[in-house]
């Protein structure tokens, strides 16, 4: 640290201690003063006993040529949770999963009045870590849980961590090659970690940080590395959306029911025509088609419902309809079938079809109209009675059904995305979710 660097906030002004590496003679800076237990020479990678006046060499390791430097250089200061900290140590650690090593980085932060805390980084995901203030209680269920300050954390992963690279100073006896069993319990955005070494278990609590926030806190140039994948305690960006989406959906559903009730009350359902007819398909005839009397449709442009009912039984009747405007010559042409079949077989009684049919002609303007009807039926049946009922301005319920599903789509999409996010999270854990689609015989 240069003499021009402003002091950290707080009353007395501690001084940085400058020493020399006994192995290579390079200058070594002690930023955490009497708290430092070991310090690593950045030049020759000797791990030195900071408590020894002669800086006794504890270990020397071979750093990989071209080793990436820490993303936050030692000596950098930044505000974390409102307090200024200085980066004094850095270590690279890794775990092996199915033979593949996964590296993460730990930055040791120090404030002479607040003590130590850590920043960890794995594939662009950051965590602000501090030592637990209370001892968590581990439950016996499966998957295991841990209770810390009344909050339940779910077991995520247990792995053996190996320290592969260190630089800076540390308030413990740091060694390259050091092994520890690390168990993580998650409750996004927090992670509770137990680190076990022979004879010691240390608990820490971490909270997820976004790279941009770290860069802003430490005034780092450029952009942080992009976050890859979903991290174990990364908060789901969809959680707030899910609650909001389903709440808004409930409001929309109520509004939809209100709209349906409103239009049902306002619909005129005006009877226009109600006539009974008989068809004798077996009898020879010149022309089956006929027209109804002319009727007036009044009011604004609206729909027209044509209800056809018949006493068919194991039979059918088909009607070619045309609603014709007497003045303009415009017609709405449609065909409707009424058929009903029933019987009894080895499965029991059965039936299909219906004895009535409804069709709604859309947007019919006011005017003088008549219906042209051309009935057809199986010539083997002597007589078929049928009735035609016409009503003006009726509610069409299908629109409400379609609207309900349309309103349902966004909350379903958000829920599905959130579930995918959680599946990605837990697929990296010791408790991966079962695949949705299983192939083969496994």
């Amino acid at each position: 640290m240069s003499s021009s660097t402003p002091p950290l906030s707080g009353p007395p002004k501690p001084q940085v201690t400058a020493l020399n590496c006994p192995t290579c003679g390079a200058a070594i800076t002690l930023r955490s003063f009497e708290h430092a237990i070991t310090v690593v020479c950045a030049s020759c990678h000797s791990i030195l006993d900071a408590k020894d006046p002669h800086l006794r060499v504890l270990q020397q390791f071979q750093a990989i040529v071209g080793e990436d430097p820490p993303l936050i250089p030692l000596g950098t200061r930044g505000k974390v949770r409102g307090t200024e900290f200085e980066v004094i140590g850095f270590q690279r650690r890794n775990i092996k999963s199915e033979g593949i090593p996964y590296d993460w980085h730990e930055y040791l932060l120090f404030n002479p009045y607040k003590g130590f805390r850590y920043l960890t980084e794995f594939q662009g995901h950051w965590n602000d870590i501090s030592i637990c203030k209370d001892l968590p209680v581990v439950g016996q269920g499966f998957p295991a849980t841990a209770n810390y300050l009344g909050e339940i954390y779910r077991h995520f992963q247990t792995a053996d961590a190996n320290t592969s690279y260190v630089i800076g100073e540390f308030p413990w006896q740091v060694r390259v090659g050091e092994h520890a069993s690390v168990t993580d319990y998650v409750r996004p955005p927090r992670v509770l970690s137990a680190e076990r070494t022979p004879g010691e278990v240390s608990w820490s609590i971490g909270e997820y940080m976004y790279g941009q926030d770290v860069w802003k806190a430490f005034h780092l140039p450029g952009n942080p590395p992009n976050a890859i994948g979903v991290y174990e305690n990364q908060p789901s960006p969809m959680n707030a959306d899910i609650r909001r989406a389903w709440t808004v959906f409930a409001v929309f559903a109520i509004l939809l029911v209100g709209l349906m009730a409103c239009f049902d009350m306002l619909a005129r359902k005006e009877p226009i025509l109600n006539r009974a007819y008989q068809l004798s398909p077996g009898e020879p005839r010149d022309e089956a088609s006929f027209v109804t009397d002319v009727f007036d449709l009044n009011g604004r442009t609206s729909n027209l419902e044509v209800l056809t009912s018949s006493d068919v039984n194991n039979n059918w009747i088909y009607l070619n309809y045309a609603l014709i405007n007497e003045d303009t010559g415009k017609a709405w042409d449609f065909g409707r079938e009424v058929s009903f079949y029933s019987g009894y077989d080895s499965d029991g009684s059965w039936s299909e079809g219906a004895k009535k049919d409804t069709v709604v002609i859309p947007s019919v303007p006011a005017g003088r109209y008549y219906l042209r009807i051309e009935p057809e039926a199986d010539p083997r049946h002597p007589h078929i009675d049928y009735w035609v009922t016409v009503r003006r301005d009726v509610p069409v319920l299908e629109w409400y059904g379609l609207a309900f599903f349309a309103l349902l789509l966004p909350p379903l999409a958000v829920t599905w995305r959130s579930m995918s996010f959680e599946r990605s999270r837990w697929s990296e854990s010791d408790h991966p979710p079962t695949p949705i689609l299983q192939t083969g015989n496994d």
Binding site: D241, R244, E287, W316, N320, S342, D393, A406
Partner: protein
């Protein structure tokens, strides 16, 4: 962002349903035909329906 989108989308859906009901829209298959001659009223057989070639189901189980 999603909240705003959903609000706009939801009200658009409700508005569309209201408009469809008001205008009397229907989902049924209807064919519009223009210029039907007035003579159809006196001679209904002179009109040939679009659906007259429909093949009827004569099934049952």
């Amino acid at each position: 962002m999603f909240g705003k989108f959903y609000l706009v989308y939801g009200f658009a859906v409700l508005g569309l349903v209201g408009f469809a009901q008001y205008r009397g829209w229907s989902l049924d298959q209807i064919t519009q035909v223009k210029n039907i001659p007035k003579s159809v009223r006196d001679n209904p057989g002179s009109y040939r329906s679009v659906y007259s070639s429909y093949h009827h189901y004569t099934g049952g189980k």
